[in-house]
């Protein structure tokens, strides 16, 4: 039964997307309802799947079979995929509902909802995939849907550029991912997770090869989950509509990288030093992104850097062989970050699409529901005790504390910065007075259909960490994470929280302008400029080499050589063509003579 449900969950969004793109494109309202209906249906079905707890593997479509290589759409229905599916469809359904209002008057409404449906299909494929090949296919599909949705307002240059940047940056990571899959296939002749797991457990792979393959696979995560050094695309992806940012660039797609790491955690565990590399990449990403977040003025960019930072946490947990903690944080983060993004969407909607936090202010009284829900989600993000984020961050800090002496301070520092920049954002947006009468002056609470998802997400942001919710979704072993006990990480976590919030309040309460200016952070450590330089340098040097080769070989030897040869022979032979009738007659006679001589001799 569950396998039928899972197949429907996978295929229904595809039908919805196809129906909208092929038939309903002109009827925007019906398209929106079809997509939303499909999202709600998948949510119900994924709850049923989770409830039934019948774990199985089912082949939906045998695609190709060449020698030992079997490629197919195989669904792997287990606790992990079912739990992840609940996150995807849950956030997805709420985002669809929110979008009904947010995108109400948008000209490309039908296209937008088709994109959302396509994304739901692709994401479901990643979650349910039982082998790396299928995961890679859907991995690319989420890339495409992300591209379509970031570039939804493609008439804006910045949106079109951001979509291109996201796609190209992801390609770099995906290339590594593909090489990783090929390496694993070459070494073990296995491509399904179960087969690979057995092969690795049997010790069939040389340690060095295993580490290399793991790192290559990890490249996929670096791209999709926007880890250092491929993190540059995620902040720019905020050019897309805010519901898209909530669904794709906060809760689900970027978390797919982490989900994949959890899926292949058996590889990481066996890979030795590669695990350390993964942990360090995660830690560095978390810290760098948190530093950059402190100086951003665009409400969505602050949240985007915060997402980067939290993803860094999850990756770090996976690298520290605590993939359960990473998955737990993914689960809680999905709710509160989606809540924050939808909250920012509500604010942007109310402020006439203004995103600069220094033009907002005093929204506390004008948008009380948004204020309350945003506050609860922020509390979860900065790990206020007993909110969902506290439990999961605790689990990661614990792992860092146990495993690596240096990563723990980095994680704690990130926690401090998180508390600081979220306090800054919260205080500047909601407190004080409205700084720009056009923006904050006319703000008013958003409609019910937008408030409802916010309230649901806020409730989940607080409660999702408790065993009552996390247990059934993620598995009973997660219950241990939501039991409080005193330890060094717990104390450090509370201390950093107090310090961060205190610092944020002291610096930003009652301010109307940015009191600190750190150019390095505001300009994101100049990564974009650096990459532009590097790309330019590479292109220039390739172009220079190509120019020399072109000049020497193609132009010189190739074209010039043929021309010169033809010229030379032509010049030599033109002397025969004297135009002199008697000259021709002479040659003719001589020719006859030669032939006669040859015939006679």
């Amino acid at each position: 039964m569950t396998s039928t449900y899972a197949s429907i969950i996978l295929l229904f969004p595809l039908f919805s997307a196809a129906a909208i793109l092929l038939g309903l494109k002109k009827k925007a309202n019906i398209s929106a309802l079809v997509a939303t209906g499909s999202a709600l249906l998948t949510l119900v079905l994924s709850v049923l799947v989770l409830n039934a707890k019948e774990w199985s593997s089912v082949t939906l479509l045998q695609w190709s079979k060449v020698g030992g290589l079997e490629l197919g759409i195989d669904l792997k229905i287990d606790q992990l995929s079912s739990g992840m599916m609940l996150v995807v469809t849950g956030v997805g359904a709420l985002v669809h509902l929110f979008s009904l209002i947010y995108m109400k008057k948008d000209a490309g409404k039908a296209r937008f909802f088709a994109g959302l449906s396509l994304f739901m299909f692709s994401m479901t494929g990643i979650v349910y995939s039982a082998n790396l090949a299928m995961m890679f296919i859907f991995w690319e599909l989420v890339g495409v849907s992300s591209y379509i949705l970031i570039g939804h307002w493609f008439e804006k240059n910045s949106a079109a550029d951001a979509a291109k940047k996201a796609f190209l940056t992801n390609r770099i990571g995906d290339f590594g991912f593909m090489i990783g899959i090929l390496l694993l296939w070459a070494a073990t002749r296995e491509i399904s997770f179960d087969g690979l797991s057995n092969a690795v457990a049997a010790g069939n792979m040389a340690p060095g090869l295993l580490a290399a393959a793991t790192l290559c696979i990890f490249c996929g995560t670096v791209g999709k989950s926007a880890q250092f050094p491929l993190h540059v695309w995620l902040p720019d992806a905020m050019e897309g509509p805010t519901p898209v940012s909530a669904l794709i660039h906060a809760a689900t797609m970027v978390a797919a990288g982490v989900y994949m790491l959890v899926r292949v955690s058996f590889l990481i565990e066996a890979s030795g030093w590669a695990a350390d590399v993964i942990a360090w990449i995660g830690g560095i990403s978390a810290l760098l992104a948190a530093l950059m977040a402190t100086q951003q003025n665009d409400i969505k960019r602050v949240l985007a850097y915060s997402t980067l930072s939290q993803l860094g946490y999850m990756v770090m947990a996976c690298g520290l062989l605590a993939s359960e903690a990473g998955m737990f944080h993914l689960f809680t983060h999905a709710w509160f970050k989606a809540g924050l993004f939808l909250g920012s969407g509500a604010i942007i909607y109310a402020c006439h699409h203004e995103q600069d936090i220094w033009k907002m202010g005093g929204l506390k009284d004008k948008m009380p529901v948004t204020f309350a829900t945003f506050g609860l989600c922020t509390a979860a993000l900065i790990a206020v005790p007993f909110t969902s984020g506290w439990w999961s961050k605790e689990a990661i800090l614990e792992a860092a504390y146990k495993n690596d002496g240096l990563l723990f301070p980095i994680a704690a520092g990130t926690a401090l910065l998180t508390a600081f920049y979220m306090t800054r954002l919260f205080v500047v947006v909601f407190f004080g007075k409205g700084r720009d009468s056009h923006v904050a002056g006319h703000a008013h609470e958003v409609p019910m259909l937008m408030r409802a998802p916010l309230i649901i997400l806020a409730v989940l942001a607080v409660l999702a960490g408790f065993a009552l919710i996390a247990g059934p979704v993620l598995g009973d072993e997660y219950a241990k994470y939501s039991q409080f006990h005193f330890s060094v990480p717990a104390i450090v976590s509370i201390l950093t929280l107090a310090l961060g919030v205190g610092l944020g309040l002291k610096l930003y309460a009652g301010r109307d302008r940015e009191p600190v200016n750190i150019k390095l952070f505001a300009n994101k450590f100049y990564f974009d400029e650096l990459y532009a330089k590097i790309v330019k340098l590479c292109q220039d040097s390739v172009a220079a080499v190509a120019r020399v080769l072109d000049g020497l070989l193609i132009d010189g030897v190739g074209v010039g050589g043929t021309r010169g040869f033809a010229n030379m022979t032509g010049n030599a032979l033109r002397r025969i063509q004297s135009g002199n009738l008697q000259g021709y007659a002479c040659l003719f006679g001589a020719g006859v003579l030669v032939i006669v001589l040859l015939a006679l001799l």
């Binding site: 033109r574 063509q577 004297s578 135009g579 002199n580 009738l581 008697q582 007659a585 002479c586």
Partner: protein, 105 residues
């Protein structure tokens, strides 16, 4: 009594005069006439061979047959050649071959 050698010498002289004219004269009409002369030199030697190569008192008619063919072909050639010369004269107003050198490469 004239012998075969006399005829052949006369024929060779005619041929040489024709060849010289074709090689070194500039007037295309003259060149054309010299060409005819070379053909007739060949005719003369053929007729001489026919006359002096008798069997049972009769000359060898093969040579004469060939001569008739040559005369016929030469007539056709004159018709075509003169037509070309006239056309060329009309377009260029000259019969000097040195002036006709547009084929020079």
């Amino acid at each position: 009594m004239t012998t075969l050698n006399d005829y052949l010498i006369a024929s060779g002289l005619l041929f040489s005069i024709g060849l010289f004219g074709v090689m070194f004269r500039r007037n295309i009409i003259v060149i054309f006439m010299c060409l005819e002369m070379m053909l007739n030199a060949a005719n003369l030697s053929l007729v001489a061979f026919s006359r002096f190569n008798t069997s049972a008192g009769l000359p060898d008619y093969n040579g004469q047959m060939l001569v008739f063919f040559i005369i016929t072909v030469a007539a056709a050639e004159v018709a075509v050649g003169l037509a070309i010369i006239i056309a060329m004269f009309r377009s260029r107003r000259t019969v000097d071959v040195d002036e006709i050198s547009s084929m020079k490469g």
